[in-house]
Symmetry: C2
Subunit: 257 residues, 2 copies
């Protein structure tokens, strides 16, 4: 009755496990059978089992359990981030009154019942080509990059690097590797750089090894990359690159027609 299209053994096994997980027979956080058990049950070699599990792992359905822990069904939690002006700005006003001394992202997490923390470092480097193009400066020009590894409930969640032309950032509080409570947008406004529009570019890809290591994800796991360029009436003044493991975030934009 099952319309078997003569799948390879490992695809077949992957499909069965996928069905069991999405049907709820294997609930989130529950342990999977061990590789040896699956191999015996299905009369295949352990390598074949591993091919099937690798597929589910790439799809974000199961975890990779080292040691005695075993693999578990992935508990999937998606946090939402608002890209457009209207909605996020309206809520940002409220936030600043309620949560003092933390930036918008930390507050955004509290809204969703999570604790956000950040590890911030600041460097002065030569602008890589992609960043230079967006900032409309020559490649290799000095820029200040403020790198943030953001943690949710203590675990790495996303990378957020903001690049500023050196003439804007140097000597300002942007260089200070700590939270800017009122936000860097307000800070730059006080410095005379009023951002009037943004351009967001969104793409998906596999992380490079460095990104995978910092986010503690397997190297095949896809990430979403949002590149936001902020403009005054005069020129681009910052580029922010945010990288999330794909299943961990959803971007939302509200647009007029």
């Amino acid at each position: 009755m099952t319309s078997e299209q003569e799948l390879p053994l490992y695809r077949d096994l992957a499909a069965e496990l996928r069905r069991a997980i999405t049907a709820g027979e294997l609930p989130p956080e529950s342990r999977l059978p061990t590789e040896a058990e699956l191999a015996e049950e299905h009369k295949v070699s352990r390598n074949t089992v591993r091919l099937a599990l690798a597929e589910l792992q790439a799809a974000g359905l199961i975890t990779t359990g080292r040691g005695r822990g075993g693999r578990r069904v992935q508990h999937r939690e998606v946090l939402e981030f608002h890209g457009s002006a209207s909605e996020s700005m309206a809520r940002a006003d409220e936030r600043l009154k309620v949560f003092d001394g933390v930036d918008a992202w930390v507050a955004d997490n509290r809204d969703q019942g999570h604790e956000g923390t950040q590890q911030i470092s600041v460097e002065i480097v030569e602008a890589p080509p992609g960043i230079a193009q967006l900032l409309e400066i020559p490649a290799g020009e000095r820029v200040v990059v403020r790198r943030r590894l953001r943690l949710v409930d203590g675990k790495p969640h996303n990378l957020n690097d903001t690049w500023y032309p050196a003439d804007i950032a140097e000597g300002s509080p942007i260089m200070h590797p700590a939270d800017v409570p009122q936000g860097t947008i307000a800070l730059m406004k006080d410095m005379g750089y009023v951002q009037v529009r943004y351009r967001d570019e969104i793409e998906g890809r596999a992380p490079d090894p460095g990104e995978a290591r910092r986010l503690r994800i397997p190297s095949g796991w896809p990430v979403i990359v949002q590149t936001r360029t902020g403009y005054t009436t005069e020129r681009p003044v910052k580029v922010t690159v945010t990288i999330w493991p794909a299943d961990r975030a959803r971007l939302i934009y509200e647009l007029p027609a």
Copy 2:
């Protein structure tokens, strides 16, 4: 001199090939050494070579070559799609004058020097939960879904499914499985449904097997999913779900501050 961190053999090999590709020593479209050659060169088993190649494949750097073709370095071409109103609308006006009888997406491709075609089918189904929630109707209610597989230069490029409440679509030209030259937005406007705002949600994930098959991508390859809900002043009137293989598209939004 190489700061080897005692990587597993296959990660080491993957890193070397990755470097050779990004450094241009293996240019796009060029053939990789065969698995047997790599195994012998590096004194590892063929399975180890395959683990390394699987990683590069997941990262979208190389193709999967069946038969005598061999693997090749992936030729990466990213097409851009505009999410926001301002820019895309201004250009849409011009398009309609120049390209007659084709919809905006087909024209969008011509702008970038490619030929876009679509395979369209229309179904009447019960609304799945996610779609029902966005359309603000009970789950299981009848909806019309207009499914499009879009091809660029003859190859599958993205999936674009638009869901309409049955009361709006039934009996209208939306049900006709062919191009709507003036676009469904203009068509709905003529029918009295003027869309005044959109809400976009963007996420990344691995495709399910059906999506992977339709797009002809390996099942681990990540996709970007854009879900656009269109609203009149009264209510949501359509939900469009577009799915791209992640490396094939970049979404762009222009936003006021």
